[in-house]
């Protein structure tokens, strides 16, 4: 982050935050690509409806809670309550890892118990693997980002520098990953009955 040549205009949005917002727009387009692929493919028929694995329900609850804790962590950092900041950040990271674990067990459930194999003749199943998988990569990126922010903030605190920009950007990203999953989950849920 030190490489940023910052402008100090208070009326302008911080460059890194703006960068994150535009990147979110970009990622949204990528997922819009997959979601519309799902809809186009479904519209062409030869489509076996499948049910979502139960682990996905739990992971949805987990990531929703993690969004709350990351929000509390960012707010605590802003108010310089570093004790509760550290606690909430740690909880968020654990919830993030838990989310990934439940996603993984959801895949295992689909593969072993529900018998959805990737053998080229069940498009609904294929999309239900691929879209949560690529979302999972983004969530993994979010967990890594939280770790990076935690380390860099603790170094900064030791040097008596203070900036809550990093945690705020990481929180923004995490909320995005959360909202994205909620959308994907509801979308898949809606389409399993249709």
């Amino acid at each position: 982050m030190s490489t940023l040549i910052a402008t100090d205009n208070s009326n302008k949005l911080n460059s890194h935050k703006l960068l994150m917002y535009i990147a979110i727009g970009s990622m949204t387009m990528m997922f819009a690509g997959w979601i519309s692929a799902y809809m186009v493919r479904q519209g062409q028929g030869r489509w076996e409806h499948i049910h979502l694995p139960s682990a996905f329900y739990i992971s949805t609850a987990v990531i929703l809670v993690s969004s709350l804790t990351i929000h509390l962590a960012a707010r605590a950092h802003k108010n310089k309550k570093f004790g509760s900041y550290k606690l909430f950040l740690l909880v968020s990271m654990i919830l993030g890892v838990l989310f990934l674990a439940f996603q993984y067990s959801g895949f295992l459930e689909m593969y072993n118990e529900m018998g959805i194999k990737l053998n080229g003749n069940n498009a609904a199943g294929e999309f239900t693997y691929v879209i949560p998988f690529v979302h999972g990569l983004h969530a993994l990126g979010g967990v890594i980002a939280l770790i990076v922010v935690a380390v860099s903030n603790s170094i900064k605190t030791k040097r008596n520098k203070y900036s809550s920009t990093g945690i705020q950007i990481a929180a923004t990203y995490w909320h995005f990953v959360d909202a994205l999953w909620l959308f994907i989950f509801l979308f898949l849920l809606y389409n399993q009955q249709a």
Partner: protein
Amino acid sequence: MSNETHNTAHGHEAHNDHNDDHHHEEHHQHFFNKYVFSMDHKIISRQFLITGMFWAIAGGLMSVFFRLQLGFPEESFQVLSAFLGDWAKGGKMDPEMYYGLVTIHGTVLVFFVLTAGLSGTFSNFLIPLQIGARDMASPFLNMLSYWFFFAAGVVMFASLFVHTGPASGGWTTYPPLSAMKEASMGSGIGMDLWLISMTLFIISSLLGGLNYIVTILNMRTKGMSMKRLPLTIWAFLFTAVLGVLSFPVLLSAAVLLIFDRHGGTSFYLSEIFIGGQAMPNVGGSAILYQHLFWFLGHPEVYIIMLPAMGMASEILATNARKPIFGYFAMVISILGITVLAFLVWAHHMFVTGMSPFLGGVFVLLTLLIAIPSAVKVFNWIVTIWKGNIRFTNGMLFALGFVSLFISGGLTGIFLGNSALDIHLHDTYFVVAHFHIVMGISAFFGMFAGVYHWFPKMYGRFMNKTLGYIHFFITFIGAYVIFWPMHYEGVAGMPRRYYDFSSWQSFSQFGDLNKMISIAAIVVFFAQLLFVFNYFVSIWRGKKVTGEKPNPWDSTTLEWTTAADPGHGNWQGPIPEVHRWAYDFRENEVDGTDFIMQDVPLREGEEEH
């Protein structure tokens, strides 16, 4: 530059508090940090340009090779076996290699040369200099952007040397050729490398695009309101917006393709037989890939065109010594093109069996693009109308750009009509259309930019005479190569064929094909003249004079700093902007015919 000047450069006597918290960490730079892993946008832009030139030569050479095959299908050439080895035994090109070369020629010219080489070079070079910023918003991401591009190039280059050859299903890589490893030779490891390379390229282009947008929105110097931006910057802004919103969709297409290749899925595959064997994949849709691909593919055309348009506007106004005509209309047309670019992709797919009603909608939206394009052309012509034209090398190429854009744009109206497209689809008419309107004309924009900003890049001029020779051969050659292809296309001659001589209906074009091939070879060598001129001029070119050289009497901020200002761009404070970018009129103060953007308004003077 000595450290001393660096220190005074960023001292606190600067009267505007803007951008002054910029600190130099690279006082003692090694060659490696300064020229290789550089974070200076000016160095990065030159890296993009020179890498783009490498790929332009490689891609151009490929076209020379397959033009030899197309023009002289009966003959054999030693040069082919020298370059292609076993792929051209006895000097006769292998058909698999022909498809490979066509594919890689398209890929590298569209993505590596006209995307990275064009907007990578000039967005990087001009954005900070023209808006008055010390560097990009994030120089580190900017550096990463180049190195991802470089890695993409290495992977693509490596794919030329694998034993089954490079990807060979066309630059659009439609499935099933791209999705089944067994489908053709190039569908194997060559296709995997193509996908890896393109993934790296997409990341590079996203990192670059994010940076350009944030820099333009956030880092403008004092007084540089959006309505005072040069049109180049407006063009780069919307180019980046297009890239940031459309490249991710290509990535989603590529990810599904990777799953089809290696994950056992069948998103794009259905009921395919290879060598009499039925493949297990059922229910997939090859058309789905085309939708996703062209959702990028069409905006990509404008990613290529907009920077060329922006630079041509700037160069035409400067060398006609007149303000750009219809500045606001220009900005609105760029915006209109950007919005429409996302709504016309299916005009590439009229013959895929889409509903005629849907086709009709896309015809209408496609033809709407003619409006902003025509507004721009009209404005360029009125800008030079009764101007005091200086025929510099850059100006000639900018004029050539307008000419080619008109010629190629008009045939777009034919192709945009679904009824006509049924006949013209996949013929040489299409080849002629897109080569003129986005290939050659974007190249002309790029050449104009290089000749025009070379003095800013290196503090020297390129050789003018060589520039004129380069222009006339390229300009005439471009029309000689691509004009006849329209006739071939109207006669129904299909693109991508290896040999036309055995068709009664197309063998009549044998002589025409010979002529096209000879012209292509001549034009290729003329480009080597440009490359020679470029590299020799870096060290031997005529020096630009003056402390703050402004060789073209231009108004924009990049000419308010020293020839080679070092990292940070201005040695003193960043100039403040007081007027719009095209104030070409009588300057009562010094008797010239232009007023630079950092000159304060005089008493009683009203802003444009």
